[in-house]
Symmetry: C2
Subunit: 329 residues, 2 copies
């Protein structure tokens, strides 16, 4: 190994999701060197998941021909409320976690500095660091995947609020009395515009006898349906899928309009798997509807863009967070 | 006059509304000494309104047996987007104003330092200064009157965003496809829960032949209906008014839940004329519904309260703003 590899200047960013753990190794300039993935197995309990996190990090280091002494710090984005100062996961329904001292436990196993934040807050930080060169003061990030989450940059800094729970834009009710949400309420953005919501509407339409080429592609059960299949169907002229995706974009547009009226940001960034797959299909509608809902006088100066980082936003942001945090130790 | 009155240590706070100008004189400790009111007459154009603002301020000074040399600074809350640094009113639809250099013009007429901010932001500042003794870091204020506006304190400071237009919580869509709003969209909070929205629903029900004691009190045309009449009707057992007010409280509760999920604040404060009149009738419902909509884990630590400042919040906040601004000159 060369002399640089004796220095502990690499960073690791980990995205801890409900179904998979995704770890990336970043060089001192935060360029991505390599990644590893491991299933989460949250049903085995938090101790097992933390062991898997540690294994995933060690595998990533090994994959990049590095050793643990090359790693300056590890950042982890967790899907829930995180007390950033103690690194404790206060509440993460997708993992079934309450009050898990993730930072402390993972640090013990890895023997390197670990910092923990909310996954969407760190995703926003990743987009901010790598894609928003103008360094705007106020940015809203909305990540649309299985669920919908948000990350906020206010006054140039990540904002998480008093209870470390800010940015839950997926649970903004926009359609009172509308479809039931996983959170127990009705008409949340997540219940009308997440991948889950879109798939549910397509499946209901198929059951209802409506035609879509998705059944030719995947069978009547729509087995293994993915966001990319929706894009393919729309590009082949599938009217049903086009309408469902367009309705979801309308809802996201209304939510973006709400957030602009509330925050008056410079930029709104859309990310996550659904946007990654359906950027061209959804962004023009989202932008149009949002601008219709913004109060006059401010809509012209607002940028509404999509992130090109896709699934990488989380690991990039976690690495950025690790680097920032270790500097202020 | 005593010797203290030779010192220029008094502050004036002005609430510039669409129908009236309300000015208060505050002593150096920001206790209210006296007030004056004047109609706005916005149809006469902005130059005339600024002259009336100046007259209202001079009348208030005279009413308190003071002279202009006793006044350290004047703060004005304007109903719209205000560039706080230049004191320019960028956009105020209720006044018909665009790009009016209010600070500069009023300063010229009064020959004393003038500072201009958004009325709801200053109302929030007034509540923060006088009612929130614990000085929480993150507070959301929602003011419910003819319209619905909001003021934000984030990280202990008023937050107005990049376009000075933040806090427009009245134009958060919570009921897609719902009642038409003055802003041109549908289902905004303002369109379902402002005084205007409540009155419209009562009037429609009366037209529809439904019974309410409001018609005994005010005639079939509901002439001069005020928020206080709704309270009287509910206390006399009027089922129609009770239902309409309860529905509005449900909507406000959903909006408060949305804002808690977005901001994770310590406190949400409700103010404005509707809340001043219907506090006992609305606050329990608002609080219950909001807590149902907040993601689990954070709802316990959140306070949802009403401001006791009522109509005074605006002038208090404008005076607080004047004192803060003159100190940093």
């Amino acid at each position: 190994m060369g002399s640089t590899n004796d220095k502990s200047e690499y960073f690791i960013g980990v995205d801890l999701g409900g179904t998979k753990i995704y770890a990336g190794v970043f060089d001192p300039g935060l360029a991505l060197v390599g990644t590893t993935k491991l299933s989460t197995k949250s049903d085995r309990g938090h101790a097992a998941v933390i062991e898997r996190l540690a294994r995933c990090v060690r595998d990533a280091i090994d994959e990049c021909d590095l050793s643990s002494k090359n790693i300056r710090a590890v950042g982890v984005g967790a899907p829930g409320t995180v007390d950033g100062e103690t690194g404790r996961v206060v509440f993460a329904p997708n993992l079934g976690w309450q009050n898990v001292p993730l930072q402390k436990e993972l640090q013990k196993q890895l023997e390197m500095p670990v910092f923990v934040g909310n996954d969407c807050t760190l995703g926003m930080l990743g987009v901010y660091a790598q894609e928003l060169k103008a360094k705007p003061s106020h940015v809203i990030g909305i990540f649309i995947g299985t669920g919908i989450g948000g990350g906020l940059i206010l006054n140039g800094e990540p904002y998480t609020g008093a209870g470390h729970a800010a940015g839950e834009v997926g649970h903004m009710v926009i359609n009172m009395g509308g479809p039931k949400c996983a959170c127990g309420n009705q008409g949340c953005l997540e219940a009308v515009a997440s991948r889950t919501a879109i798939f549910r509407r397509v499946a209901a339409a198929v059951k209802d006898g409506q035609k879509t080429i998705l059944t030719d592609m995947l069978g009547d059960e729509l087995k293994d349906l993915r966001s990319g299949d929706l894009r393919k169907a729309i590009r082949r002229g599938d009217k049903l899928v086009e309408r469902v995706v367009s309705d979801a974009a309308d809802c996201i547009g209304i939510a973006v309009g709400n957030l602009i009226n509330i925050f008056s940001p410079e930029i709104v960034v859309l990310g996550g798997g659904v946007i990654e797959a359906l950027d061209d299909e959804m962004l023009p509608t989202i932008s149009k509807i949002a601008r219709q809902h913004v109060l006059p006088g401010t809509e012209k100066s607002i940028e509404i863009i999509s992130s090109k980082l896709g699934d990488h936003a989380g690991i990039v942001g976690a690495a950025v967070f690790a680097r920032q945090s270790v500097k202020t130790l």
